[in-house]
């Protein structure tokens, strides 16, 4: 049970032994419990890494920066983002701190959040291969498909955690620096603070779901290479490329199929009544990306020669 410990390096997997040890009686028929054990160990490994903690720290710092900047800018009584400049919802932040949640999510969704996902997803398989721990992981009687699913589940959990970190940090900063209370939707109708909080939570979930496509893409890239850095760089590079292509008007026929095209549709949840069309399109598109790249990752990984 000390296989993992035998491998030196920064990415040793002290939990692997534990995970393999846990279902000692179930080695012949790895069951649900085993999968859950593997998932739990993956989760612990991922969230215990310094780089994960640093990523989450950066994400938490964005709303603090935005909040403090707005506070300083408007300390003389002027309105923030005058003339409709800046990220969405920024002009309402001074009147209601809850809007900082939406502003922070709108500010981090285009780059910060997907970049963090790209790092985690790109690292998922290629990072293990790079550190030489992949073959030890495969020694465990989990099966490659199950391992891949576990990796994807871990990445998606990170999507959710990262989004919630941004939202909670923004809510805290918003509550500290700005007044809270009933809020006005972008359609001009009023909703209570409790309903606003509910919508903020729903928006955070939608934003997390918007990242499912990038996560699948990153995982697929991760199965193609044995270098963690290459996988991360490719994923983030693809993300930036797609974001740029999405801005070119001549490509409007292709744009509805870019994973980032409907990302800002989460703002439609702040309309009254909610405008569902783009939200549904966004979730459908993310599901499609997850299915295509998830199955491509499986096709690649399940038949891959693991040489390192």
């Amino acid at each position: 049970m000390s296989r993992a410990e035998a491998v030196p390096g920064p990415d040793t997997r002290p939990d692997l032994g534990e995970a393999v040890a846990a279902p000692a009686g179930a080695t012949r028929s790895p069951g649900l419990l085993w999968t859950f054990g593997l998932f739990r160990s993956e989760l612990a490994t991922t969230f215990r890494r310094w780089r994960t903690i640093a990523l989450l720290g950066v994400l938490a710092a964005v709303p603090i920066l935005v909040g403090v900047a707005i506070r300083i800018e408007t300390s003389d009584g002027s309105a923030a983002g005058g003339g409709g400049e800046g990220p969405a919802f920024i002009s309402q932040v001074t009147n209601n701190g809850l809007f900082l949640v939406f502003t922070a999510l709108a500010a981090t969704l285009p780059f910060f959040l997907p970049m963090a996902i790209g790092v985690i997803a790109g690292d998922a398989i290629a990072g293990e291969a790079n550190a030489g721990t992949l073959r030890y992981l495969l020694v465990a009687p989990a099966g490659r498909t199950r391992l891949l699913l576990t990796k994807y589940a871990t990445t998606m959990t990170f999507c959710l955690v990262a989004t919630l970190v941004v939202a909670v940090s923004a809510l805290t900063v918003g509550a500290l620096l700005f007044p809270l209370g009933d809020l006005t939707t972008i359609s001009g109708t009023r909703i209570s603070f409790a309903e606003g909080l509910g919508r903020a939570l729903f928006i955070a979930l939608v934003v997390a779901a918007s990242l499912v496509g990038v996560a699948a893409l990153g995982l697929f890239v991760s199965t193609l290479t044995n270098s963690g850095i290459a996988a991360m760089a490719t994923t983030v590079g693809l993300l930036i490329t797609v974001q740029i292509l999405d801005q070119i008007p001549q490509l409007h026929a292709l744009q509805p199929y870019f994973f980032s095209h409907y990302w800002l549709s989460f703002a439609d949840l702040m309309r009254e009544p909610v405008y569902w069309d783009d939200l549904v399109r966004n979730l459908g598109l993310q599901g499609l990306y997850a299915a295509v790249f998830g199955s491509a990752a499986w096709a690649r990984f399940a038949a891959k020669d693991i040489t390192v």
């Binding site: 109708t189 069309d277 499609l288 096709a299």
Partner: protein, 404 residues
């Protein structure tokens, strides 16, 4: 034994390699199949959902026009998609710059309805409309992560721009004094467009009922209005009329030159139940900048803007000299000035720029420059006369010759 063994195993290895290669390739069938299924779904579902044109009792064009006139839909809410392609160069930024400049000149704000009008003149926009009787109505222009709403409730007309958090307030006369609700000054819904188009119906027009269609999930008749004369740039106007309520659901104006519709406004969703009362409540949010309209000026302004926009539908501006009739009517007015210098101002840069905007023409009237869009052409002569209308270039020149 050893050599045989190794031979066997080599053969077996080769076979194994081929098989495993095939197996590897076979796995990629899954993602390819997923892409295929998705493409088929995207392509086929709209085709399958289009269950053909509904079977409706036959009506004559006259009956259908009466139906539209009698239509008294009090409660409606829905989503309208409006695409305009006037063939203008993309003036998005410029137009809004001019508009906001104009609004600022009046001491207005970005929430002033006037400054939003020009936005509708190009591109595709999604609007949400709701109405509950003549005194309650709202139109919202959906923007990315923002919304611009005009809300009419009783005596108040509010306009709210969520992007800049600015509001605009005007007092509207009650419906007893003024027919129609304030937001209708801006033709945005298919009904507004249809009313404008039906005003133009006279003996120069052919009106026919061209079968039925499904619009926003409702059965509708298709009314087609075509100019009888030649020389108009208007090809046809098609109006989808709800079979039950007589409410126009879709308006399409196609140019005579073919191609995409110049104006295409239609409901994508429509609901005839009463919208929630809170839809029409508006209190400016805390911290929002509120601009009060100059009461005497505001209605006049919005009416004028509405008319400007309506001109695109082949209407002349009131008080101008009009040549011809029906669809081929041409507005003529004298600017009294020097007109457009057409390629001879002495400054070659300016000339080049002006000539790139329009075509130089000459005739009995002298010479001038024709500025064309897909629908409206305008001839500005060198002696300062302007002829404009939804007619072809030749018709403009002919009119100018005749007037000379």
């Amino acid at each position: 034994m050893a050599p045989y063994e190794s031979d066997d195993s080599t053969k077996a290895d080769e076979a194994e390699d081929v098989r495993s290669g095939r197996r590897k390739a076979a796995r990629y069938v899954v993602p390819v199949a997923v892409v295929g299924v998705a493409a088929a779904t995207i392509g086929l579902v709209p085709a399958l959902a289009d269950s053909g044109d509904p079977d409706l009792p036959k009506v004559t064009a006259q009956q259908l026009i009466e139906k539209i006139a009698k239509s008294d839909v009090q409660q409606v809410s829905g989503t309208v998609k409006i695409s305009t392609d006037l063939g203008l160069p993309d003036l998005g930024g410029l137009a809004s710059g001019i508009a906001s400049g104009a609004a600022e000149g009046d001491g207005g704000s970005s929430a002033d309805p006037q400054s939003k009008l020009l936005e509708l003149a190009s591109g595709t926009h999604t609007l949400r409309v709701a109405a509950d009787g003549p005194d309650k109505g709202r139109i919202s222009l959906l923007d990315s992560a923002a919304e611009y709403s005009v809300i009419h409730n009783g005596d108040d007309v509010w306009a709210y721009d969520s992007k800049s958090n600015e509001a605009y307030h005007a007092t509207a006369p009650r419906s007893e004094e003024k027919k129609g609700k304030a937001p209708e000054d801006v033709p945005a819904t298919p009904k507004d467009f249809a009313e404008e188009a039906l005003k133009a119906v006279d003996d120069t027009t052919s009106v026919t009922v061209d079968g039925t269609a499904q619009i926003a999930g409702r059965d509708a008749y298709r009314l087609v209005i075509k100019p009888k004369q030649s020389g108009s740039t208007v090809g046809a106007i098609s109006i989808g009329v709800d079979a039950k309520t007589g409410l126009p659901l879709k308006f399409t104006l196609t140019p005579a030159s073919g191609g995409a519709a110049v104006v295409d406004a239609g409901f994508t969703k429509v609901d005839f139940s009463a919208p929630a009362a809170s839809t029409f409540d508006f209190t400016p949010p805390k911290g929002a900048k509120v601009t009060e309209a100059d009461e005497s000026k505001a209605p006049e302004h919005s009416r004028k803007s509405g008319e400007d926009f309506g001109m695109g539908l082949g209407e002349g501006l009131g008080g101008l000299k009009t040549i011809g009739k029906g669809w081929n009517s041409i507005a003529e007015f004298d600017t009294g000035g020097q007109g457009m210098p057409s390629g001879s101002s002495g400054n070659s840069d300016v000339d080049g720029f002006l000539n790139s905007l329009g075509d130089h023409v000459s005739g009995k009237f002298g010479s001038g420059t024709v500025f064309s869009t897909r629908l409206v052409n305008a001839l500005i002569t060198d002696d300062g006369k302007v002829y404009a209308g939804a007619v072809t270039k030749d018709a403009l020149v002919k009119a100018a010759d005749a007037a000379h």
